[in-house]
């Protein structure tokens, strides 16, 4: 499973992940303070520059990640065209793009390990309270490992369907997929038990 971290190394890759996340929180809050479209446009230009500086590949990946807000930008602009409050529509649209763009920037420049480090740090108080946070350390790699396995299973099921039926495969494939996942889970559970259970808190300190 490939993380969304940009393979194109930027200087921001070396910054501490916690610092970037804290900065993101601050910046995202600050975005709500301004009410001036020109300030917002300036911020957007700065964001675009931040995406463009590391090179074309980085910019393209960033633009692709921003696609998810595009329908909503269109929706907001059309909506406010009807209510004759285009300034408001522009503000909302720019703020949406800015918020998502900032967040994606952090994701693109932070490795999975860096993120997990911050997560572990954030969980410290819960660990102190005695919550079994170490279960998460076992569950996360399991899910990451098994997602491509199950995708391959789904593909195999779809192929088997196509070999036998003229109609397109649909929701019916979900039942065998789910039963296979449940079988896998039983096997993995037994294997974990045979190896002494999930990672213990002491073993994850490395």
């Amino acid at each position: 499973m490939i993380s969304l971290t940009s393979p194109h190394r930027t200087r921001a890759h070396d910054w501490p992940a916690g610092l970037k996340l804290a900065g993101l929180c601050l910046a995202s809050t600050a975005v709500f303070l301004t009410d001036d479209p020109w300030v917002m446009a300036g911020l957007l230009a700065a964001l675009a520059l931040a995406y463009a500086l590391p090179g074309r590949a980085f910019l393209r990946a960033g633009a692709r990640a921003l696609r998810l807000v595009l329908p909503f930008v269109v929706l907001m602009l059309v909506w406010h065209l009807f209510t004759r409050d285009l300034r408001m529509g522009l503000m909302i649209s720019m703020r949406m793009v800015l918020l998502v763009g900032l967040a994606n920037l952090v994701t693109m420049t932070t490795s999975l390990q860096g993120m997990m480090g911050v997560m572990r740090w954030l969980l410290t108080p819960f660990r102190r309270l005695g919550l079994p946070t170490h279960l998460l350390e076992t569950a996360i790699p399991l899910t990451i490992r098994f997602t491509p396995v199950l995708i391959a299973r789904a593909d195999a099921l779809a192929l088997a369907w196509r070999a036998r039926a003229a109609r397109r495969p649909g929701w019916r494939l979900v039942l065998p997929l789910m039963m296979q996942a449940l079988d896998d889970a039983d096997h993995v559970g037994e294997a974990l038990r045979a190896r002494g259970g999930p990672l213990k808190p002491a073993e994850q300190e490395d």
Binding site: L68, F72, L99
Partner: protein, 189 residues
């Protein structure tokens, strides 16, 4: 304990894998993804606590930067976008779905699962989704709700499919469902 952990992790992986199942497009052009089907199934099959854990695990991995949402979306940007409320509602939706199948003595199991999915997978997730959309875009709750109505038919379809899948699971392997009580179990001699 290991078994529960493995169930949560594998169901999370299944929710992620369902993102790659091709989208079904409804007659009037609204795409629906199979992922909320996975969330409904997590609640209906694993029950409230483990179902919610599986849904939350997917969100955690998305936040860590993995592209596990439909269309290869992922990363922190998902949680800043206008649809964040829908994603954040997943664990609660799975929890409510699971709670209903565990507590409500209704038969057949498929009907119960479908009903639970309507409440947990649609009512709850839309409630958080509409709230999130309203917060991000600054639209009123009613306006936001009106915009979301186009997606309701697809989600009703998914709730019905959840019911059929659970019914299939009951027929094939009822012991998987911890909440399932065979017809005679309630009035044992």
């Amino acid at each position: 304990m290991e078994r529960k952990l493995a169930h949560v992790a594998l169901f999370a992986a299944m929710i992620a894998a369902l993102a790659y199942v091709p989208q079904i497009t409804l007659g009037f052009g609204v795409p629906i993804t199979a992922q909320t089907l996975g969330v409904m199934l997590a609640g209906a099959v694993l029950g409230a606590r483990q179902g919610a854990a599986a849904a939350a695990l997917v969100l955690l991995l998305v936040a860590l930067g993995l592209p596990l949402l439909s269309g290869g979306r992922g990363g922190l940007g998902v949680f800043a976008g206008p649809t964040t409320g829908f994603a954040l509602g997943w664990p609660l939706g799975a929890y409510v779905t699971g709670l209903i199948v565990e507590k409500l003595p209704l038969r057949p199991a498929g009907l119960l699962a479908a009903l639970a999915s309507v409440v947990g997978g649609i009512l709850v997730i839309y409630a958080t989704g509409i709230l999130g959309f309203s917060l991000v875009t600054g639209k009123g709750l009613m306006e936001s709700a009106a915009l979301m109505m186009v997606f309701i038919p697809g989600d009703l379809l998914k709730a019905a499919i959840t019911g059929m899948l659970v019914q299939g699971l009951v027929r094939a392997r009822p012991q998987t469902l911890s909440w399932y009580r065979p017809a005679t179990a309630g009035r044992r001699l």
